[in-house]
Symmetry: C2
Subunit: 440 residues, 2 copies
């Protein structure tokens, strides 16, 4: 715990960094009240001090010389708010070595170098707080690591990428094309100029790796998380899902199976309308966690944005200044290179319900062929829709082609994959089949 | 922070206490992992040690002599899980004085004697943790006091009484009568034999006082919170609300107005279908908090029940054992007899939208009379429903009486009250008017 007033530095005055500077300077009284001492913004490190600042901090505090921060023994805590892996990793290591506690929002850095950084911080008696790295303003890190500490979390379902959720909401609610929804997300500042990491599931997988680490206590390599993004999502599937009473969400799922193996995936998933996750709209994030004592708890809020994310960073700064972050960091003993990684469940053996859509030639016997192939693979069917009205089919102009939508009972993913491989080879198939998970 | 293994006592082995005993003994490994040390159940104090225990703890640990606990210098933390005001208050003071930190779920005790107990704990250098006192398994205390610490929470809306929510859900979804829904709640263990404190809004008001204290930092006397329960709720109003696209929820609301005065009330409120609060069913609890930095955050989970509530108590025990609870308690500096209480907003001047239902004689000119009286009080109307079908009216058998349902724009509560007083005197009124808040 810092006994006197705390001196804080910000590295990186981008969107989040400028929000943190605003909260610390505009709400100094509140900081004093909530931390029990003053929290003084003492230094701001930017890449190029000659450029205009995103937030008008006192120019005397601003420098582009990171060494001057590393050497400043009077700085207690650093909000390190630059993205990417390098130089972020090296800077964090050097700040830790110079005796500073760290608050970060850089999920990619933690997902990639978490074990190294956390081991180093522990060796040095320092702490790393990272609430803002997942789900922006939704305080899921604290909730999993502190509030739910009496529980083993056995299942976690999250809408962790606000950009994707915004795009899918636009497509679903406004009937917009994927391309147009992406452009709107960019105009509104929800998506980067290159939105690949958001829409292909990478961002959600990195966040899921962090959450899975908190819930199962072992390191998860985000690259090993099977992931499908929303970039291939077709409007017709949104329509079909709607007909069936579902919405499609890019869902990140972690489950602990009976063998204590971890099942992880990120994929567009059908979620029953009216359930809390289905009703998460726009750029919001949400997480539903199942604790073995608590039952299901649900957390919902803005997943990104300048002040919501800055609010999470500042809560971590207050925790660090008070001394809570250090106790949490020490006790949780997260991430280490010395411990074995989490054992991943075999995807082929995991079970779930599925939505399937086939574009097939419209002639007798096709449905029988498909259902018998599914039956051969022990996949049983809950419902089939074969539209009478070709206008809601995908291929309305291609007469002779119809969509066939099938919902399955719980089936082994390996079996489903084998069945689809076989089905895709049938000569009645006019296009590759579509399959998506259905949330139970 | 307790350096060695922690020795824990439970006072009261009722529903929650037996759940805490179960978690501590059945999940000792997990406790050790999450607290970084062992958490040993060292003593259990019950009222009558000769009676059968709710959970089979080692009989050597069980006593009905509270003095033996007070004198035991080796007990570090006590989960005090007895209800009511006395002897709970005296026991807590004596435990604090004997050097023990406290975890409690007793909201009535905190709402009533919070300032005295908190001052005493502070003087003695001890801590009181109380996550389980509000909303059972929903960790709203930690979220408001830690995770949202960068924010001024300006609005808080909660479904804080699971019993009431279960009863209203049953009435709405199953069309059950109030009496039958109460009986079902009792059968399922959601309601006490005497459910008065739950259904008349007392329980929710006590919880709201605790939450309001956390958000505005000043003591709120729960008795001063205007409250209306669900005990007078009529099925016809649930039907009308449904027609208008709303559900009725017993909502506890705290708002900080521009003068920093606190507006507080507990009342059945119309909440738009599809919004998160409207979709909270059964015995669940939920809180929607608006932070000035964060925007709206929403928390949802089981509001009561043995293990969910015990899970919150155990999280507090872990926090206490780690040392986090002490830091939080010291920093937050909650409740004190030496500080002025919160300034309550004048209810007459607070604004909101309202649902009104009148049972009136069915003859020309009645609607005009009512609307002109509302107009005289500056209350403008967004919609009026006067049913053509008498079967959905309240008084279907009483020919000549119709229901008239009016939704207002935002209006001053004082004006509305004055208008209703005048309207209730009109000779066309067949029954006292019904009015309920509508959530914006």
């Amino acid at each position: 715990m810092i006994e006197n007033d705390a001196r804080i530095a910000i590295v990186g005055l981008g969107t989040v960094g400028s929000g943190v500077a605003e909260i610390l300077t505009q709400h100094a009284d509140r900081m004093r009240r909530h931390a029990g001492k003053s929290m003084q913004l003492a230094r701001v490190v930017v890449r190029d001090a000659s450029k205009p600042l995103r937030y008008p901090v006192d120019s005397k505090l601003v420098t582009d010389d990171i060494e001057s921060l590393i050497e400043d023994r009077d700085i207690d805590v650093v909000a390190q708010l630059i993205g990417g892996l390098e130089p972020a990793r090296t800077i964090m290591l050097r700040l830790l070595e110079s005796g500073k506690d760290i608050v970060t929002a850089n999920k990619a850095l933690l997902a990639e170098h978490g074990p190294e950084l956390f081991d180093r911080a522990r060796d040095l008696g320092r702490s790393i707080a990272f609430e803002a790295s997942v789900a922006g303003g939704v305080p899921i890190i604290s909730n999993l690591s502190q509030c739910l500490s009496a529980n083993q979390v056995t299942s976690l379902r999250g809408i962790l990428n606000g950009t994707s959720n915004f795009i899918v909401s636009q497509m679903e609610e406004q009937g917009q094309s994927y391309e147009r929804a992406v452009r709107l997300a960019q105009e509104k500042g929800f998506a980067e100029a290159d939105p690949t990491m958001d829409v292909d599931g990478t961002d959600a997988a990195q966040k899921l790796a962090i959450l899975a680490h908190l819930t199962c206590g072992a390191h998860v390599d985000w690259r090993k998380i099977p992931r499908v993004g929303i970039d291939q999502l077709q409007p017709s599937d949104l329509n079909w899902a709607g007909e069936l009473g579902y919405r499609i969400k890019l869902l990140a799922v972690a489950k602990l199976n009976d063998d204590q193996h971890v099942e992880l995936h990120v994929s567009p998933t059908l979620v029953k309308m009216g359930t809390p996750l289905a009703e998460v709209r726009g750029a919001n994030n949400a997480i539903s966690a199942l604790g073995d004592m608590l039952g299901r708890a649900f957390f919902h809020g803005l997943g990104a944005g300048r002040l919501p994310t800055a609010s999470a960073v500042v809560a971590d700064l207050i925790d660090t200044v008070i001394g809570r972050a250090s106790l949490t960091f020490r006790t949780l003993d997260l991430w280490s290179e010395n411990r074995p990684p989490a054992v991943m469940a075999d995807p082929a053996k995991t079970h779930g319900r599925f939505y399937l859509r086939f574009s097939v030639e419209d002639h007798p016997g096709v449905l029988a062929k498909i259902t018998s192939c599914l039956g051969d693979h022990q996949i049983s069917i809950t419902s089939v829709i074969q539209p009478e009205h070709p206008e809601i089919s995908d291929a309305s102009e291609d007469t002779g082609t119809v969509s066939l939508v099938i919902m399955t009972h719980s089936a082994a993913e390996g079996q489903l994959k084998a069945a689809l491989e076989q089905l895709n080879k049938l000569d009645v198939m006019r296009a590759k089949s579509v399959s998506m998970r259905v949330l139970d």
